[in-house]
Symmetry: C2
Subunit: 439 residues, 2 copies
Amino acid sequence: MENKLDKEVKVGICGLGTVGGATLKLLTGENSDEIRRRAGASISVSQVATRTLNHSQVDGIPCVGTDPFAVVNDPSVEVVIETIGGYDPAYQVIKQALSNGKHVITANKALIAERGNELFEVAQKSNVVLAFESSVAGGIPIIKGLREGLAANKINWLAGIINGTGNFILTKMTSDDRQFNDVLEEAQTLGYAEADPTFDIEGIDAAHKLTIMSSIAFGIPLQFDKTYTEGISEITPEDISYADELGYKIKHLGIANRSLSGIEMRVHPTLISKAQLLANVNGVENAVMINGNAVGSTLYSGPGAGGDATASAVVADLIDIARHKIARSESPIYPSLGYQTMYEDAQILNIEDIKTEYYLRIPAMDRVGVMAKISSILQTHGISIEAVIQKEPISEIVPIIILTHLARERNLNLAMNEIESLEEVAGAINRIRVESFEV
Amino acid sequence: MENKLDKEVKVGICGLGTVGGATLKLLTGENSDEIRRRAGASISVSQVATRTLNHSQVDGIPCVGTDPFAVVNDPSVEVVIETIGGYDPAYQVIKQALSNGKHVITANKALIAERGNELFEVAQKSNVVLAFESSVAGGIPIIKGLREGLAANKINWLAGIINGTGNFILTKMTSDDRQFNDVLEEAQTLGYAEADPTFDIEGIDAAHKLTIMSSIAFGIPLQFDKTYTEGISEITPEDISYADELGYKIKHLGIANRSLSGIEMRVHPTLISKAQLLANVNGVENAVMINGNAVGSTLYSGPGAGGDATASAVVADLIDIARHKIARSESPIYPSLGYQTMYEDAQILNIEDIKTEYYLRIPAMDRVGVMAKISSILQTHGISIEAVIQKEPISEIVPIIILTHLARERNLNLAMNEIESLEEVAGAINRIRVESFEV
């Protein structure tokens, strides 16, 4: 890091959308005295690039333009905040800034999850920080918690509600007994969901965040392509109601787990006990539960999105960088992913190799003996039943709800195929994984 | 910090009780590879002092004795872990270690809250770190969260369940409808409460922790003597049941609040809405909710005590120090209380100057007109009523339960005095404060 005596940090911001705009406001607004006292340096925004130039938005900033590379190539800028989003030109902007010896702060979870390995290498070569607290769970300082606060632990597992849109939809479906598509439309009207909601509801956004947290938890390189992803669009109010009857809520979770056979990274709807604090995190809130072998289980919750909450994390990264500068560190204090030496060859399990409990909703015909046939198939595959719900038939098809004990997913898939091919079963089984996290 | 190339950090531990013993185990046990990879240095315990020498406990440690000053005066020791507890000799041990230019890590909340101002000054003069993550909320990285993760925020308020013993007692009283003394005895049998439980049940331990968090939240010097403290021994199962009827749970909270007129620091039983996540933190668990002006409300929960959880925080501090050493910082990165320049003259409010809502249980005689008299007194003092519960009389005395709107405590005290002197009121009013935290 630079060895200057003047206690000022010069910042350039690329992108003035929701997060970039809120960051600029936070740095220049009523908190600036508090930020200066905490950082031990005044932080001045000296360069801004925005696609749609609106001078009133950047009142008092000396250099404003539309070219992000003008920011990253300005020799006076020490820290670049990348809030452009997307893959290009964000990737090039970050890479160029790092190569130029500037610290970079980004909220870009897709970029970190998919191309972080390369970018962290560039940062290391240039001896600068690439900080990304705001990329996971918005304003909740979860990266810092994992990388520093829990650094003495072997992390056993973590499980998080890390997509506010999905949690809003499931919460509304639960509280108002409404269909998925109906609530999705409301979320779009309210601005909680994009016009194309795929990233949120199919779990891709959550998988990006899970990929990042898994690397910090287990010291493994970022491996987004090995993260299993399943969305929430198949969840019905009936499933939510049966889950409730069994003592569970359905949440869209990102789960990372370390077992003897390898590491699991998976995003999918999950039944969790209503008694869990995590089950009571509602609406657009995010929460992450982390289990370490020394500390036990801790939980972190709060606003997972929104300009101000995300800017809170961006500026926290900035204050950290300022503090490092004041202390005249010769190199970044924290390895990007928390490890000076990573576990490069840790095995990531295929989803078929995981072991968990399952909720099955089987559309069975109202005929004698069907339950016996289903039980027998499950037994053949070594799967035992924990609970069953079978209601009075109201039509020809009567759903059978089964909660299994722990089973290997490969075995469950075989059993599901056989059950679905029974002539007494009228369609596809709805299968939801069940997790019982120790507190 | 020292400018060595050998990547090793030599640690001395003073005190091998619950926390010290767990710390030694954590550093030398199965996590040591993970800790070395995260710290970028191997951490070796080179000196240990324990009051009751038991050689099997410190197998493999070269220097073991009973004199903590032998540890702090050993030139090879770079970091001293103080897990003796209490005021003396812990204070002298820490001070001597800091003066000798050694970093110090302590779990001693009483010492930090009551004598931290002096100790931090010594640390600053010696250009070393005095770290105390483990002093508040055990394994939850709440100091780091406040001081670093939320550093961009003006903290508006924080509220925490920060004493596991008290929360265990209130949880059991609630779930099992039992009396305070009865549950206290059970807590003592289980080892959750000390033989002399005063520190826990009277809120002194919580006040120590609240004092520390308040300083970091607001950038003010530690002022334990200005923290208002009220215990839980007056809470009855009846209060818990009335609170439940009104939609609340009773929790023993430490609350720090910043208003226009000043800063509040107070520990007392509190009614909070059942819908709050904080209300659902049960048993010996701790949780802290923090509201910042950028991030909104975030919550942190987990094990607030126990050897392993506390050792997790002690070793996290140690890894931070090792990382700073590897990065060759010239001075500590983080100011002890998070501010390079404090707000020295911020005003701390007297409890009579706070404004909150109140729950009142008034032991009234079953006579005509008593409710009218009470209402009139409250009205005279500008206090309006939000809800009332008055049950069928089962004896001569019928409790009247009143929930007020926001009122100044000074006014409420005057009103309570007048109500208690009514001839229709048979004894002291039980008053519990009510807080409605925005999420």
